[in-house]
Symmetry: D2
């Protein structure tokens, strides 16, 4: 079956890459030791600071987001270190598992995968940790698998209140340039991100921002490392910035993406994400009046700007909905992961998007729901439009 029209890739990553960025990654390579490439790469690393809102150092890796997870762990911790990993879904759980693989003692808390980090529980664990065995907290800002956004400032507040020295390490893969985030103001010690979400790029680059306490820690941390080692990357040669040959085309794309964010304004980009996310939630809420669908994230204040998990009940099969949207309407949605498999589909609403694309996406979902024969509340798209018009 042939589909026509442009694919809307409404998974929560990969996302719709702007034509400008796609063209940038298609440029021929240049001598990476030339002044021109050096300036380009240095400018990108510099400008990323204003996206993270930090005066720390930002490092870029030829790797996907999981690579940035590893970079954070290896640079900040020592074998046997305890870290607190308050997991809230599939991705935070994989990060915690990575910590175990690398030789850390991971204290993992879990939730129902419908709500955010239990701050009180985290406070209790940290409060009991009188001798500060816990060296870091692995906190995912937005859990891509559930559509839940965690309260990072609340974690900072707990640490401050307890005067606990653990590093607060934030995964902003699904929140950077999508949600309010202010690394330095929020007291985040380290933050990591990836190229294919709010940065509107292809997959293949990821980032680690380190504040002064985290940078200091990289000097003493003992996990063996080479590829991800930020100390090596602090050098003066471009070769060192990327530990080997730089992924030039992705750097070209990053430059374009950063320019586009600057043109729109970071704050405007974030409020655009919020506006579009609100519209999606209005649609899902309307569909849910039939009882068989609901937003996975229970608490309204924890609903993410990047992605909405749509929880369905029988007889709705989320994979059937995804198949129809993809095959009939050229719209790609995310599926439920791990224990959410078969219970959830996910609508990504992040990156290079606007009202028309979101309404079109919701229209395709509404058509697919109708096509599937499922009972659901009518008027989801209409509710989204009302919300976007400020009248719903």
């Amino acid at each position: 079956m042939v589909t026509r029209g442009r694919l809307f890739i409404q998974t929560p990553g990969p996302t719709n890459i702007p034509e400008r960025v796609l063209q940038a990654v298609a440029r021929s390579g240049i001598d990476f030791a030339s002044p021109r490439f050096r300036e380009l790469a240095a400018g990108c690393l510099h400008d990323l600071k204003s996206i993270f809102k930090t005066e720390g150092e930002v490092f870029a890796f030829a790797a996907n987001g999981h690579g940035a997870w590893e970079a954070a762990l290896q640079n900040l911790f020592t074998p046997g270190d305890a870290v607190l990993a308050p997991t809230t879904g599939r991705f935070s759980a994989v990060w915690a598992e990575m910590g175990r693989k690398l030789g850390l003692e991971v204290i993992e808390t879990r939730t129902d995968w419908r709500s955010g980090i239990d701050i009180d529980l985290a406070a209790e664990i940290l409060g009991r940790d009188r001798d500060h065995r816990i060296k870091g907290i692995l906190a995912v800002h937005t859990e891509t698998a559930t559509g839940v956004r965690n309260d990072l400032p609340a974690l900072r507040a707990v640490l401050d209140q307890l005067d606990h020295p653990a590093l607060l390490v934030a995964d902003t893969i699904a929140s950077l340039a999508i949600e309010e985030f202010a690394m330095d103001d929020w007291g985040i010690d380290a933050a990591l991100a990836a190229s294919q979400k709010g940065l509107m790029m292809p997959v293949g680059m990821s980032f680690l921002a380190l504040g002064p306490r985290a940078l200091e820690r990289t000097r003493s941390a003992q996990l063996p490392r080479a590829y991800w080692d930020v100390q090596f990357r602090l050098g003066d040669e471009v070769y060192r910035w990327f530990y080997g040959t730089p992924p030039e085309q992705l750097v070209f794309g990053l430059r374009e993406a950063l320019d586009m964010i600057a043109e729109e304004g970071l704050d405007q980009a974030i409020s655009r994400h919020r506006r579009l996310a609100d519209a999606v939630r209005a649609a899902v809420t309307a569909w849910g009046r039939g009882g068989a669908l609901e937003i996975n994230a229970i608490n309204p204040h924890e609903r993410a700007n990047a992605v909405t998990g749509v929880r369905v009940s029988e007889p709705i099969d989320p994979e059937a909905i995804r198949s129809i949207t993809r095959a009939e309407f050229n719209v790609a949605l995310g599926g439920g992961l791990a224990e959410l498999t078969g219970k959830v589909f996910r609508i990504g609403h992040l990156g290079d998007l606007n009202e028309a694309m979101i309404i079109g996406t919701l229209g395709a979902v509404e058509l697919s729901l109708k096509r599937s024969g499922a009972a659901f509340g009518e008027g989801g798209v209409a509710a989204a439009i009302d919300r976007l018009a400020g009248t719903g």
Copy 2:
């Protein structure tokens, strides 16, 4: 003001060009005298026959659609020839005017720009033309400026009934690969088209298909010509096919577009256009329940698959609606032309489109209507979705 997300170019040309076609036109040039280019170009000209549904000859010009108009006139007529031009809107009127500029006697009929060719009037004029001074009929299949589709077989029937030898020359610029069209079966002698509509290409190429009677006429027609002369182009050299250097990148794009049409199937492409057009009409009809909007094409059976003219009454300003959709929602609409200026805006629904894009487009229009403060019937997008679901 920066917009984000991909522009929906819902003008009735230019249209949304598929990524595959855009990449094809960005390929480096090759030796146009090489076997590879020759085969490529010959294949395109051959395959275009199946799009026109003709066993005649198809010629391709480095030119826009107005160039194909001129090609048709110069190749088929002789100074002083009378032609019947039943105009129904701005574009057919310009074509008629072109006939006058080139030295033809143009018998122009007009309509209210809301309905199709008056077949009875045409029959009357042709019937009076006992000595066959009228050498051709310039018939636009779909008038892009009004959204009205004309009944070409009815014109053929008139000619047949009268046994009138005038050539039936069809402008299928806004209908080829969009509407049912069968050049040979319908008795169309000549048909012309352009690249940027149903063929999903950039502007810059246009086409003229000639059946046996038209080809015969090109041998005797006396309008002076060189660039458009099809007799010259019938030669064996690629140089002759394009009268000079071939527009290689556009040929590359044409190859890709023809492949895409073949993959989808021409009939499927046409029924997709009909389905999406129906959805747009459902939306406009719903909006029109408030009284201030209506479909410009009065007769339902004359409403085109390619474009819907939306006629608005005060206080709705169509240009204000267009400005909002463009500036706020990154959706480009067509405006009213000539005497429809300020009375009509046009929603293009042709080319590389699907349900999600159409719903998104309609969503942007609905939001713009709300934003403009105009009174209009609610539920346009919802009506479109119902229509697409087969329930509205």
Copy 3:
């Protein structure tokens, strides 16, 4: 047989298109009635004036170079007008033929296709034309088919001396941004060009620049016209500038190309062409020491910056040389046209080129000569390098 590496397209058009321009022509379309496109197109038309070095008007056509020929003729002449066409090769001969097809009386002079316009003969003909029946001179600046550059200022001088009012119409297709050319200073009344040569673009756009006398003439000239009519194009709407839908992607490419020329500097681009052309001539001269090859253009001061015709004697078969360079070395050369078929191959050295590409091209030719078993003078490439080094 698969070739590898980037094709060097060393035909005298199409030429090697810079990546920046290729990417520009691959951008999605926009609303051509929007301020953004208007500004873009207006800027291009304005900046083209500085390339032609004129304060007149420049018009752009969706057409190849032959279209610009027709535009010049139709806008400037009246049926029955006499024009002097001093032809010097295949292309100037086709232009003269076009004049006849369009109804002009063409006074054609010919050469041996190895030297430039016979200025004395032109002077004689014009001198005899006491009643000024000759309304224009169709003068090709560089004859692409022969590699001969004509002396346009000498023609102007003849007209001035005779006080003859004929318009001097220059074809600068193979010279604009390649050779010194100064439309106003040289007293050229009209000049035409195409996109795929010095402007480094895909084929598909062509240009006509008109000085005050030519513009004045367009008001009285009587050849029937519509597509090419510049009076219509003088209007305020973008629609009029391109007589119909503008070829947006080509305009995007033109913008990029004009920016690139501005960055390099027009004078620098021209001296680069001269330098590279000199190197090619040094190579051909060296090869020719064996006796079987020589530069087609006999007079050194008439050798063009754009292309060198290489005249070969038996047993060298120029088509065999071309086949080898294409199939084995991925280098496309031009062939001999019309009466030069089988006697000449042509090395294009125009557009986006540098020393490395020219040396590589010459290397491929030299290898092909060796491969073909022909006797020729050794050391062509070495001679070119010496010339480029300023030592040969």
Copy 4:
């Protein structure tokens, strides 16, 4: 200073990326969980086996080549394992250093950086290792920093003769699809490569091929790992193949590159590289007759197909040569690294190249040598042409 013409990127990576591959990496993303992407990625991993000439498993990483080094070490070794690292230049030395960073005992042998691995010395060390403490040999096939190719089969022979169980791990970053290489036939246990060399792609992907003994080892090896862990990647989900989100655009590019290699034929690609490398060596040898330049690789049978290090004596400054080629001729060369800084420049001759590009590159170097005022033997380019013609 503006350069014109296409940049020749004759560094030994990044290399000239074919237009087809550049276009592939510029395609919009798709749902990576879709059958279409799954099939694409599986096909690439499968087809890579025939490039490595192995029936083992191939893994692909979103990472540059240094990442593949780390992947090899972490998957195959246990903290405290001894590995033999016979270094022959900068890159093999960095890999050895990486082994130390990751906790291995690295037995490093060195050379003069002008010749290959001392096989006798390796045999001696392995022979003394009666209790098989040495668990692997880190052998670089082609040392990119010196242009020296090592004799991998000789290392295998040593191991076989000694019946030593150490794994033979080959870095084929600068040799895969460039030199003869047959992983299984040569008894290579593990081989790693990167995207930007013989595979003609952008930087950002790297590969690890494991034969049965190496795969078995990954089950017992104890270096902590997650991102590079191949056991995890053996799973059935696409997510696992890339440990996280797949770098889709690079996979698209890889598909195109593999298709291109299949079209040319792997053997043909390798003999093309040898032919072009021979030509470069002929040129350098000719230049060296003046005494101030020589090929860095002393032994002719160790000279690599991928890159030629050119050793220069005073007063030639290799960095000045590189600056001139880059700034004047748009040709990028590699510099000398580490202790070869200021003594060597490197001409990359790998990837998507042909005779014309190599001759052009050599021409630019010859011009730069002349421009620099250095004394050198004349006729380097001529010698290369003779070699390519089979006459030198």
